[in-house]
Amino acid sequence: MSVLLVAEVLAGQLNKDSTAKALTAAAQLGAVDVLCASGGCGAAADELAALQGVNKVLCADDASYEYAMAEPMAALILSVADQYEHIVFPATTSGKNIAPRVAALLDVMVISEVMAINGPAEFVRPIYAGNAIQTVTTADAKKVMTIRTASFDSAAEGGSAAVESMAVVACDAPVAWVSNEVQESDRPELTSSDIIVSGGRGVGSEENFALIEALADKLGAAVGASRAAVDAGFAPNDWQVGQTGKIVAPQLYVAVGISGAIQHLAGMKDSKVIVAINKDEDAPIFQVADYGLVADLFDAVPEMTAAL
């Protein structure tokens, strides 16, 4: 039996990054049909059809799926669930909202945040905020799961799958979308940003943190700080990354003037790429950094900002 991947499509817009990564995972399980449901999602369906590894795209174009509310989405998925052994979602807030509902309605357990697939019924996932990695097998006939997108590469372009339209399933939805609020700040949220620039005590003062912020703004990144920098009063509390602060896993984490105490590493070690800029070449941060630059941050950071 094949795999159903539920694409993330909100207000007609495909979240291509997360969906394409989940597609890579889903393709390890079998032939993948992709469900594309939203209002005015024809273009999104075409985008999905152009991804490699897609067998076909099922397009449910209806206003009731506009913002992917869990109730109508689950009803829709259930209408085709008997054709699939695996039902896969990207582990976004939307995917994680819908998947457990689908699982419960199918009377199966959900498997959240899958980071590796060992076989059709064996999955690897993080527990305890990534401090432990669990391998589970499931006895359920149908497997409903969300895919931790940071663990998989995006599926490539170049596919040419057929797009089939799919019947809408009537659902008396008890939840109605009202509005989305755009972030007030121009800067992205620390916990959801793709790029984070963090400063440590090496930054030296609250004023010097402007260097960090300038680089972050140039990169469209969120700003973080180590506990030492927060304790020293250089940065506000809610910027703190680490064991007692926020746990982050961006695509790119730039640690500037951060020594790399284990408490800090606990909060960012799952970042895809870590860059460290520190003048102390023995700083522990270099032990986890993919790219280390031994340099005075007061030279290197402005140079980097200017070069971008």
Partner: protein, 556 residues
């Protein structure tokens, strides 16, 4: 700010500050006595740790004497005494070798037959359950922030710490004022260098007839080791390397159950060299050729540190004052040659409980203000006899390891502690550091991340956590002293004696002249109290942070 507010009040017969062996034993004993005589008694115990056992750290070998008296059926009740002491070894280490002391020359106090290797934290968790089952109101997560006094000068009780005070000292949105706990008797059982105990000693001048207390810092790690290296029940003590002979201290290495080994290092806080780092000495100790193999292929699972009393009988303060008593290590009942304080602390708590119960029986409404009967009971107990026999051991080491060992041999093996003299300790520990220009800097090896570690990765394993937005609980009497004196004269010894990386001298960016300032990372504090003891200027005053803060030791 906090002075004007009206605080809630709760009244008890007996209030106990601290959920360690002495406080919990006192609570249990009070309830037992009340049950035996079919009387009602209200006993409240507050503990600053997030749970009973969270702040408890010890070796530990338990001599079950006091436990046998307190809870004779402890085995049936599931007390976590799982590993009887088996083989025992004492080694004097040189840099590359080791000489073991034959069993016959080991002082009797160091024989551990019949004792158990335990986690004192787990033992206290169990005692806490026993106390609760007997009806004690046990409140972990609440600090005793200050002592309250009656108009007649007697102790009225304590005020619990305010919760939700922000870094700048103002109440935050979750502010919850502490409350007043009043009792006919308040037992201060905070452990070594309790911050209220310290103030009470000064307030009532309890140490006027005794020598200044001396202390040690004990640093401990818990390891899970290669099963091939594991010998359940094995007890190893060492003296000598890496410490110089003029520094008192040594190690312990106890093999528990489940391939676990407790390893620790104690350094007397009367050491002289400001460049000495007890933490680094401990790390270096583990690399000794005779020691290292134990840890090869193993995994460190916990870390912590705690100061301990070493003074013994000649430093024991007056135990009572109107309205309260000091028990256990808050008073200083540890037996140094045995390196054990649990049984004596428990017994002192039990004796205080008996004294208080008798006084309440005589007059429940207004019992005698001062529990002098506690002192009498204490002086007539085996605790006193033990401490008396032990009294000359620690002070003999002020002449160094070799003289100390010889004198201890004479005192303990030949005279069995019955020498007709009593040695003096000399100075308080904060007075012993020499100036930096008279001291030789010590270069410690870099941690390898396998056997030896840095401070921050160590603190990480202690589960230490403090609410971030609160005032710094390592207070300075005078903020200029650290740089002007501690740094200028002693090269900032707090950077080295603190085992948790709380104190750092960093460049003061506001001055732009390369001068330094003291950075206090209060969040790292494992509540060991070493800074309060060893700070040469006695400028650092440890006070309680918000309740529940501090380490969360598992199995320590």
């Amino acid at each position: 700010m906090a002075e004007e507010i009206e605080r809630d009040v709760m009244e008890f017969d007996v209030l106990i500050v601290g959920g360690g062996p002495s406080g919990l034993s006192a609570a249990i004993r009070l309830m037992q006595l009340a049950q035996e005589s079919e009387q009602e008694i209200s006993v409240c115990l507050v503990e600053k740790g997030s749970e009973i056992g969270a702040h408890i750290l010890s070796g530990a070998i338990l001599e079950p004497t006091a436990l046998n008296e307190l809870i004779p059926d402890w085995k049936e009740k599931g007390a976590p005494l799982n590993t009887p002491v088996g083989a025992e070894k004492i080694m004097f280490l040189s840099e590359t070798g080791a000489v073991s002391t034959p069993q016959m020359f080991m002082p009797p106090a160091m024989h551990n037959h019949g004792n158990y290797i335990i986690s004192l934290g787990n033992f206290c968790r169990w005692l806490g359950e026993q106390a609760e089952a007997l009806g004690v109101d046990v409140y972990p997560g609440f600090t005793a922030a200050k002592t309250l006094y009656n108009a007649d000068g007697s102790v009225k009780g304590i005020q619990t710490g305010d919760m939700g005070i922000q870094r700048d000292g103002t109440p935050g949105p979750q502010y919850e004022p502490g409350m007043e706990l009043h009792a006919k008797y308040t037992f201060f059982a905070e452990g070594c260098r309790g911050h209220l105990g310290k103030a009470l000693k000064a307030h009532f001048d309890l140490e006027k007839d005794v020598q200044p207390q001396t202390y040690g810092i004990g640093i401990k790690e818990l390891w899970e080791i290669d099963p091939a290296q594991h010998q359940p029940g094995l007890v190893v003590h060492t003296a000598g390397w890496p410490l110089k002979p003029d520094t008192y201290g040594g190690s312990f290495l106890y093999h528990l159950e489940d391939n676990q080994v407790a390893v620790g290092f104690v350094v007397g806080l009367d050491y002289k060299n400001p460049y000495l780092s007890p933490f680094e000495e401990f790390q270096r100790f583990k690399t000794h050729p005779k020691i290292r193999a134990t840890f090869e292929g193993g995994r460190r699972i916990s870390y912590g540190a705690r100061a301990l009393n070493e003074g013994g009988l000649q430093c024991l303060p007056k135990l009572t004052f109107p309205g309260g008593v000091l028990t256990g290590c808050d008073a200083g009942t540890l037996n140094m040659p045995k390196i054990k304080g649990t049984h004596t602390a428990m017994k002192s708590g039990m004796l205080a409980a008996e004294a208080a119960f008798e006084a309440l029986q005589e007059n429940a409404e207004s019992p005698a203000a001062e529990l002098t009967a506690f002192t009498e009971k204490f002086n007539n107990s085996w605790v006193y006899d033990e401490l008396s026999a032990a009294r000359n051991v620690r002070p003999s080491f002020k002449w160094g390891l070799w003289v100390g060992t010889l004198l201890t041999g004479i005192d303990q093996v030949l005279l069995r502690g019955k020498a007709p003299w009593t040695l003096q300790h000399g100075h308080s520990d904060h007075e012993t550091l020499v100036h930096k220009d008279k001291a030789a800097p010590i270069t410690y090896p870099r941690p390898d991340g396998k056997i030896t570690f840095d401070k921050l990765s160590s603190v990480f394993l202690s589960g230490t956590n403090h609410e971030e937005d609160q005032p710094i609980h390592l207070t300075l009497k005078d903020a200029s002293v650290p740089v002007a004196t501690n740094l200028a004269l002693y090269d900032g010894p707090e950077q080295r004696f603190c085992p948790a990386g709380v104190y750092e001298y960093v460049e003061d960016e506001s001055k732009q002249d390369g001068s330094q300032r003291l950075q206090i990372n209060a969040q790292n504090c494992v509540h060991c109290k070493t800074c309060d003891i060893k700070d040469p200027t006695q400028n650092i005053v440890w006070v309680t942070p918000e309740g529940g803060g501090g380490p969360n030791y598992p199995n320590m």
